[in-house]
């Protein structure tokens, strides 16, 4: 429970990164029951390489037409980020076709920006496609959500990404979130003026305890938490479970609300399409 204008209300949070097309309907019910007030879905890799631009066109329609209806059955606003995922950047010819169709979707009512672009294995083609998608975002005045690589590739990839973003004219760090930070990358992202996302994964990214450690060390000014649930090992309730962990550590209800509701609201609210309850805690 949190205290809002003198009234106790159930815990609330925004899930800023979840791949709901890969989740079952029961996950929507569980998230809303736990206090989720909005969910945001970046474009993702399907687990296999799509074979044509038409396949991506259908996926973008799924993210902007079908999935919002599915979420709406639970009263949950659904937003999307569009892009070619870095895992599919090696085929430059197909990538060019996909990048060409993205702008036609940017005016759709639930589209928040370009994402999750970034790097996966830090290859030359991944870098080239990342740079092109950043340019699309700048050209169309879109916010940017960045994926950083996994495990041994994260440190190098994050430094490459920060360098590219810093040297690209027109990129406003306040409108860019660099996701999946861990202890060895969070400072570089925040020091460069970007927002940083901490992803809560059972094995490969960050546990609730480590996430709260980073919050305690680096503050909450430009941090958000997300579950990034997809078709792999992941937990759609990771954010509210981390909120409970924060409570055990003695964090106040207002501080928890600020991190899991206020912060994503502050970042995402830079796009006027993002409309959720803006009331603040006492």
């Amino acid at each position: 429970m949190v205290r809002l204008l003198g009234t106790l209300i159930p815990m609330r949070y925004i899930e800023p990164h979840a791949h709901m097309v890969s989740r079952v309907t029961d996950d929507y019910a569980a998230m809303v029951t736990a206090g989720c007030r909005a969910v945001c879905e970046p474009s993702f890799w399907a687990g296999f390489d799509r074979g044509s631009a038409e396949g991506f066109h259908d996926y973008f329609c799924q993210l902007t037409e079908h999935e919002p209806k599915r979420a709406a059955r639970f009263g949950l606003p659904h937003y999307a980020w569009l892009c070619l995922n870095p895992k599919e950047s090696e085929n430059l010819a197909l990538a060019a076709e996909v990048l060409a169709i993205i702008p036609e979707f940017l005016d759709r009512p639930n589209v928040l920006g370009i994402g999750e672009i970034g790097l996966n294995k830090n290859s030359r083609n991944e870098v080239a496609i990342f740079e092109q998608q950043v340019e699309i975002a700048v050209k169309h005045n879109q916010m940017i959500l960045v994926h950083t690589p996994h495990l041994e590739d994260k440190w190098k990839g994050t430094r490459l990404i920060v360098d590219i973003l810093k040297r690209t004219p027109g990129v406003n760090p306040a409108r860019v979130i660099i996701d999946h930070v861990e202890e060895h990358t969070v400072a570089e992202v925040l020091d460069a003026g970007f927002w940083a996302g901490i992803t809560l994964y059972p094995l490969s990214k960050c546990t609730p305890a480590r996430a709260i450690d980073m919050v305690e060390v680096y503050g909450t000014q430009r941090l958000w938490l997300n579950c990034a649930c997809d078709w792999g090992h992941s937990d759609p309730l990771a954010v509210p479970k981390t909120a409970l962990e924060m409570k055990k550590r003695g964090h106040s209800e207002a501080a928890i609300d600020q991190l899991i509701y206020g912060n994503p609201l502050r970042f995402l609210g830079q796009n006027p399409k993002f409309q959720v309850e803006k009331s603040v805690l006492d």
Binding site: K121, N122, E152, K248
Partner: protein
């Protein structure tokens, strides 16, 4: 939260993970063959745990990371192994 509070909250979990790690190394050492780059990296990272320096998690993550700075020629596999193959 003071040190006693942190210990109360997390000691049992840390102990469990430590024993799991020890059992993993026992399992590896009972098996035939030589350590690959992942196990070698893990053994090197373990030395950081007994250091008195701060930011142990950060230093272990860096130790397990690719330290190069130039993009690679081609992505090849999409998945990551958890340690740098050049270790």
């Amino acid at each position: 939260m003071n040190r006693e509070g942190v210990t109360d909250l997390y000691f049992a979990e840390a102990r469990s993970k430590l024993v799991d790690l020890a059992a993993f190394l026992d399992r590896v050492e009972r098996s035939e063959g030589a350590d690959d780059f992942r196990v070698k990296s893990l053994r090197a990272a373990l030395k950081e745990l007994s250091s008195s320096e701060p930011e142990k998690a950060k230093r272990i993550l860096v130790l397990l990371s690719d330290p190069t700075t130039e993009p690679i020629a081609e992505a090849g596999e999409k998945s990551a192994s958890g340690a740098w193959s050049g270790f």
